[in-house]
């Protein structure tokens, strides 16, 4: 359960424009220890928002606070406690999973013994231990995704942002990943996840935020959203109704 009174993430009037506004004066608060699902149609601004939080895109304006740290002013301090997992895993084909985790641990400056234990535990949990000496180039998409996830978790981030983390995973692997993520949340980590698989959000998220045209158009627990949506049966119905309404309004 959340114990830290400082929110894990606070976005205030966050804005990013390309040819058109991708993120439009976005206000968002994610509580510490929360599993938060960020939903929205393609081009809604989900990935852009997460990339700005991760320090991959400079925001045009607005504020980003991660556990009270101003991420725009103190990016290094913020990155120390954040992990970001993109939808396309970024790995080194010529390294094996253990070498990849050694590299990540070095980047985050982890104490070697603690890093080794954490790496072994993650590889065991994700079913990669037998493959720890095989180069990633021969791995399936799902295995690469799991190696990347291990890389995101090995430094025990307080805020973990996952962009479509279940893409390419079979049912068994998806279950492993979901269990691992919920366990991390139980241990006090905060997770923000984007997904197109609404059932996943419905099943594991504490709260859901729905983005459209770079703005948050709905937010709350599933029960709260159902009430707001006039008693929609499922998150999928609610999501489609909200997006359709937003489309008509735009």
């Amino acid at each position: 359960m959340p114990s830290d009174p400082t929110p894990a993430l606070v976005l205030r009037a966050l804005t990013k424009r390309f040819a058109r506004p991708a993120v439009d004066s976005l206000d968002l608060t994610v509580r510490a220890g929360e599993f938060y699902a960020l939903l929205g149609p393609n081009g809604a601004g989900k990935s852009t928002t997460l990339r700005m939080v991760a320090g991959l895109l400079p925001a045009d304006s607005g504020e980003i606070h991660i556990f009270g740290i101003d991420a725009r002013r103190q990016p290094i301090a913020a990155k120390r406690i954040v992990a970001w997992l993109p939808d396309e895993p970024q790995l080194y084909d010529k390294l094996d999973p253990l070498e990849y985790l050694e590299f990540v641990a070095g980047l985050w400056g982890l104490e070697p013994r603690r890093a080794a234990e954490s790496a072994e535990s993650l590889l065991q949990t994700l079913g990669l231990w037998e493959h720890r000496r095989e180069r990633c180039e021969g791995f399936s998409r799902g295995m690469k995704q799991k190696v990347a996830l291990a890389g995101a978790l090995v430094h025990e981030p307080r805020l973990l942002m996952l962009d479509e983390p279940l893409t390419g995973l079979d049912a068994g692997s998806a279950r492993q990943v979901k269990n691992l993520l919920t366990a991390r949340v139980r241990e006090g980590a905060t997770i923000i996840l984007t997904t197109h698989i609404l059932e996943v959000a419905e099943r594991i998220a504490d709260r859901v935020g729905i983005l459209a045209h770079g703005r948050l158009i709905a937010e709350g627990t599933l029960a709260e959203l159902r009430v707001a949506g006039g008693g929609c049966a499922s998150l999928e119905d609610l999501f489609l109704d909200l997006i359709a309404a937003e489309g008509r309004a735009a």
């Binding site: 390309f18 991959l56 990155k79 993109p86 070095g106 180039e137």
Partner: protein, 528 residues
């Protein structure tokens, strides 16, 4: 007129179209009309250059030793072209097997894999001979225009050479694949193909190094023609065909076609099997090791990663070493010529400096522009400057390892020359690395030898800096203080091309896209 889909001709047309588009990509965003104008101008230019060469050939052909000269010339040509075509075919077959591309689509379609292979190999043969044809065919045209039409036989002879070499290349690549297994075949075949391809260039350079007596002996050996037994007549078929002997031309074309068809028929099934085996197979075996090497410091972590990635990519390594290999014979010639005047270092030291600059440029490009996970690195709690410094430190080791032996050799001849080469080599390496640091452009690692086509300006600057360092070395070896002039010019050049944004902005980890290259900007746009 559209071609019937699924036919041999349609597959060849498809592959040639892809090849042509790849070639056109070298010209960037230039309009098609301007590209066509450049190509026509290049073709005219090549013919103008070939004209005096054709006159020279004509002078020798009409001499008393004309026939022997023609035999030697054609035989040399075959020695040059055939290995090149074989190497290109081997590389293409290996690439087809491992990079797969549209191979899965082709194999999943209701066509025989053999047909797809034949078409691809045929297109490959055309592309391979086109590259050497650019040099040889203008010479044939010029000779024909000067009244020696038999030179036009080069056209069909070269085409036949392409077919023969492609067939042989396919056989060699697949034989290697089945001999050493899918895991090792890629690395060995790519290195082998690189060496075979390089042998032609190196051979020409080595010939240039030989003393006159040895060259005369070589000419006699090449021009030797007993003309007697059937085996010799078969072995000399390509050169006689290229020389315009009608019966030999027909025979060579028939033999080449037979080789191509036989290779496809016999090895077509093997290719399909190899493609299935190679699916998902790592390019080379991972080496089992014990213990872990977790470390908390950034510098050693980055160095280890860069060295592992480099060491485990033998093809990439061979491409980089090829630059050194190509330059060595030139260095040898310069050493020999310089040695005759008693000052070997005057020529050899600048060569070493140029090699150091090239190596550092290539390795810096790989480490900086061809980073496999740039966005992942950008999320790490370290500044971009720290990462870049770590990477540049990582490339210093291989450059030093490669340059140390020749520097030692030079030191035995002249300590001062070696000192100059060392100082200027360090300078050339640093300036090449800085250029790559300031002008990063994301690309794949495998494109290291084509990095100059990314930006003509960067290519020009890299050569310019190398030239300045080479001049500085030469002048320094003489002991002249004038060496500061080219070094000052290096400094001025670097000052002029330094990044416009303040270093603080560039170093800020959050501003990774502040100096966005077009590719990164593209990523930004797509990110929404």
């Amino acid at each position: 007129m559209s071609l019937r889909p699924g036919t041999f001709v349609s597959f060849v047309a498809h592959d040639l179209r892809l090849g042509a588009r790849g070639f056109a990509a070298i010209f960037g965003a230039l309009p098609a009309r301007r590209v066509a104008a450049i190509l026509v101008a290049a073709l005219v230019g090549l013919h103008l250059v070939a004209w005096p060469a054709a006159l020279w050939f004509g002078g020798h052909e009409s001499g008393a030793d004309g026939d022997r000269f023609l035999t030697a010339a054609m035989r040399s040509g075959v020695f040059f072209v055939l290995p090149w075509v074989v190497a290109t075919a081997m590389t293409a077959v290996t690439r087809m097997l491992y990079q797969r591309g549209d191979l899965d689509l082709l194999f999943a379609s209701p066509i025989f894999p053999r047909d797809a292979l034949a078409a691809r190999l045929f297109a490959q043969a055309i592309e391979a001979v086109a590259s050497v044809g650019l040099l040889l065919l203008p010479l044939a045209d010029a000779c024909a225009l000067q009244g020696r039409p038999h030179w036009l036989a080069l056209y069909p002879a070269l085409f036949a050479c392409g077919l023969f070499g492609a067939g042989l290349g396919l056989m060699l690549a697949l034989a290697l694949f089945f001999a050493v297994g899918p895991r090792r075949a890629r690395a060995i075949s790519q290195i082998g193909a690189t060496l075979v391809g390089a042998s032609a260039v190196l051979g020409a350079q080595i010939v240039a190094m030989l003393p006159n007596s040895a060259r005369t002996w070589l000419f006699d050996a090449l021009a030797f023609n007993s003309g007697g037994d059937a085996l010799r007549r078969l072995a000399t078929l390509p050169e006689r065909a290229a020389g315009g002997e009608p019966a030999a031309l027909v025979g060579w074309m028939a033999l080449a076609l037979a080789m191509f068809v036989a290779a496809v028929l016999v090895f077509g099934g093997g290719f399909a099997r190899a493609a299935l085996q190679s699916a998902g197979a790592p390019s080379s075996p991972g080496r089992a090791r014990t213990g872990t090497r977790f470390r908390a410091r950034l510098g050693p972590t980055l160095r280890l990663k860069e060295h592992r990635l480099l060491w485990r990519d033998p093809w990439l390594l061979s491409q980089i070493m090829l630059q050194v290999l190509y330059t060595l014979p030139v260095g040898g010639i310069l050493w020999r010529n310089g040695g005759a005047t008693g000052t070997a270092g005057i020529a050899f030291a600048p060569t070493l400096v140029v090699i150091a600059g090239q190596l550092a440029g290539s390795l810096a490009w790989i480490a900086l522009s061809a980073e496999d996970a740039p966005e992942f690195l950008a999320t790490a709690p370290v500044t971009r400057g720290e990462i870049e410094r770590g990477k540049l430190a990582a490339i210093a080791l291989p450059v030093a390892a490669i340059m140390t032996p020749p520097l030692f050799a030079l030191a035995f001849v002249s300590a001062w020359d070696a000192f100059c080469a060392l100082g200027c080599g360090v300078g050339a390496s640093l300036s090449a690395a800085l250029l790559m640091l300031w002008r990063q452009k994301p690309a794949r690692r495998g494109l290291v030898l084509r990095r100059h086509s990314q930006s003509k300006l960067v290519a020009l600057l890299e050569h310019w800096l190398s030239l300045l360092w080479a001049v500085a070395t030469g002048v320094a070896v003489f002991g002249s203080a004038a060496c500061v002039v080219p070094i000052a010019l290096v400094g001025l050049t670097l000052w002029l091309i330094r990044p416009a944004a303040p270093l603080g902005d560039l170093r800020s980890a959050s501003a990774i896209n502040a100096n966005a290259s077009p590719a990164r900007a593209d990523i930004e746009v797509r990110a929404g």
